[in-house]
């Protein structure tokens, strides 16, 4: 299993280097542009959404890392159980690493703000729970930010990997149904039915539940952390169920 984890890290490290090189270049560009703009209290530059980029990046990494690695592991005598276990450990370590890396980048961005006050380096997630972060001590804020990033990243990676496994396992008709259903149901079918038959009650209910699960109603990030971690655990279970009967094609 350790070898499988080592291999997965080896496989992703080049992609990681490229990703963070681009991010650093963008941040450097942002810094240079910020330094060149007037510091008159009215002009400012804002860099936001790094964690969204990382979430999307991890979703895509998850989406692209099943088939090739699955074949490689089966070729080298690794059982599906061990593949699953190594995948879990790898995803936890990768998402933790990127959460820490992003927090470091944001801390550096915070330093930019001190050097050049018209430069703002902010986080979407932190912005959503700004009041909570302002009311709590620095250590707790740091821990909760890390857990928030980690939980969102993990859910994104798990979702990407789950989708690619599902596509691998289902037949042609299933692929077509899934491709249509994935977009058609939530964006066309559901709104239509909800509007025509339920007077938008279902949408309101879902929105309320989502607010509750993400802690928006109380302005607390902890429910969101629990929600995303729970989603990840469920997806781990689904990985196992999909993976245990997967065969070479």
């Amino acid at each position: 299993m350790n070898k499988a984890i080592k291999y997965q890290w080896s496989d992703v490290k080049r992609t990681l280097c490229i990703y963070y090189s681009v991010i650093i270049l963008v941040v450097a560009f942002f810094f240079i542009v910020g330094m060149l703009t007037k510091n008159d209290g009215e002009t400012y530059s804002s860099f936001n959404g790094l964690e969204m980029c990382t979430g999307i990046f991890l979703f895509v990494v998850g989406l692209n890392s099943f088939k090739e690695q699955f074949f490689m592991f089966l070729q080298n005598g690794i059982s599906r159980k061990s593949i699953w276990k190594s995948r879990v450990v790898y995803s936890l370590s990768l998402c933790a690493f990127m959460a820490v890396a992003d927090m470091i980048l944001m801390a550096i961005g915070g330093l930019f703000h001190r050097i050049q006050p018209n430069l703002y380096f902010t986080s979407v997630l932190a912005g959503l729970y700004q009041d909570w972060f302002l009311q709590n001590n620095a250590v707790l804020v740091l821990l909760v930010k890390f857990l928030m990033f980690f939980a969102v990243y993990l859910a994104a990676f798990c979702a990407g990997y789950f989708i690619t496994m599902l596509y691998y396992r289902i037949g042609r008709r299933g692929k077509i149904a899934l491709s249509i259903g994935l977009w058609g149901v939530p964006f066309v079918g559901f709104p239509l039915v909800d509007d025509l038959l339920l007077n938008n009650r279902a949408s309101r209910f879902l929105l309320e539940q989502m607010f509750r699960l993400l802690g928006f109603n109380v302005g607390n990030p902890v429910p969101a952390i629990i929600t995303f971690l729970a989603v990840s655990i469920i997806l781990y279970g689904l990985w196992y169920l999909l993976g245990r009967r997967a065969v070479v094609k």
Binding site: M1, K3, K6, Y7, E68, F71, M72, L74, Q75, N76, G77, I78, S79, R80, K81, S82, R245, V247, V248
Partner: protein, 283 residues
């Protein structure tokens, strides 16, 4: 070591029965030929042994341990497939390095030596290789992995005559220095017959023959001569098949030869494996 034991394995793909109650044993330190026509079930059997696909029923054990989903058992066996399961963008040297990680007994030095002998550029990526060199790199991995059981599915696919000759020589050398169980699944029966000891013939998902080469070929003989003379001779005998070339007829007979009863004008010769295989799998 107790070998690889396949016990009553059945596998269906939809309506097609690929394997039907197959039972056999690959004993330690022997070289086997797994022979069968296209679609007979050879690759299916090898894939089930190595946990790449699942049998519908039956069991496979490797040295007494169930092979299915068992890392310890699977570490003892290596399958070189017809298809490439290594990442296309991976360089050959990297494939060797990673094989060494997963199989600690892998001999990197030997693999590089074989690469040189075969003229394989280890800096190339897997996708850049021709059909022949794709087989060569996989064969090199299989010969260097040093597991007790090595399964080779069409190892000489796309290889030219020189490389095929080199492969068989290297195989024999390797086997002499480090005996292991080697199973060769191939269509090139005449070439492989010189190196194999055990023969398993599979037809329509069932085992037709599972014997040593010596036993199998000594079970019958070939009689050749003029068509009329041969036809008279074979009356009442267990005829497997025949071939006619002009006025000359050769008949394959599956019984012990009594040379005293062979009339003048007829020639007796041993069965050759390819002819025997064709006759067995044609009927």
């Amino acid at each position: 070591m107790s070998g690889i034991v396949v016990n009553n394995v059945t596998k269906n793909f939809g309506d097609t029965c690929a394997l039907d109650g197959v039972s056999l044993t690959f004993e330690p330190e022997r070289i086997y030929g797994l022979l069968g026509r296209n679609g007979a079930g050879k690759s299916t059997l090898l894939n089930i042994i190595t946990n790449r696909i699942f049998a519908d029923s039956g069991q496979v054990t490797i040295d007494g341990m169930p092979a299915r989903e068992n890392d310890e058992a699977l570490r003892k066996v290596y399958l070189m497939s017809e298809k490439n399961y290594y990442p296309e963008s991976m360089r050959i040297r990297e494939v060797f390095q990673w094989t060494g990680e997963f199989y600690p007994e892998f001999d990197m030095e030997y693999a590089l030596l074989l690469a040189e002998k075969f003229g394989l550029n280890v800096k190339k990526k897997a996708r850049e290789l021709s059909t022949g060199y794709a087989s060569i790199f996989k064969v090199i991995v299989a010969l260097s992995v040093n597991t007790p059981y090595v399964l080779l599915d069409e190892p000489v696919l796309g290889l030219d005559a020189n490389h095929r000759d080199l492969f068989y020589r290297v195989l024999i050398e390797k086997y002499s220095e480090h005996p292991s169980t080697i199973v060769i699944s191939t269509h090139l029966i005449e070439e492989v017959s010189a190196v194999i000891d055990g023969i398993i013939i599979i037809k329509n998902g069932r085992i037709l023959k599972d014997q040593s080469r010596e036993e199998l070929l000594s079970q019958g003989y070939t009689v050749s001569g003029s068509t009329a003379a041969v036809d008279r001779y074979i009356q009442g005998r267990n005829v497997l098949g025949s071939s006619v070339l002009g006025g000359l007829k050769s008949v394959y007979i599956m019984e012990r030869c009594d040379r005293t009863s062979v009339p003048d004008g007829l020639e007796i010769s041993p069965l050759d494996l390819q002819s025997l295989f064709i006759q067995l799998t044609n009927s």
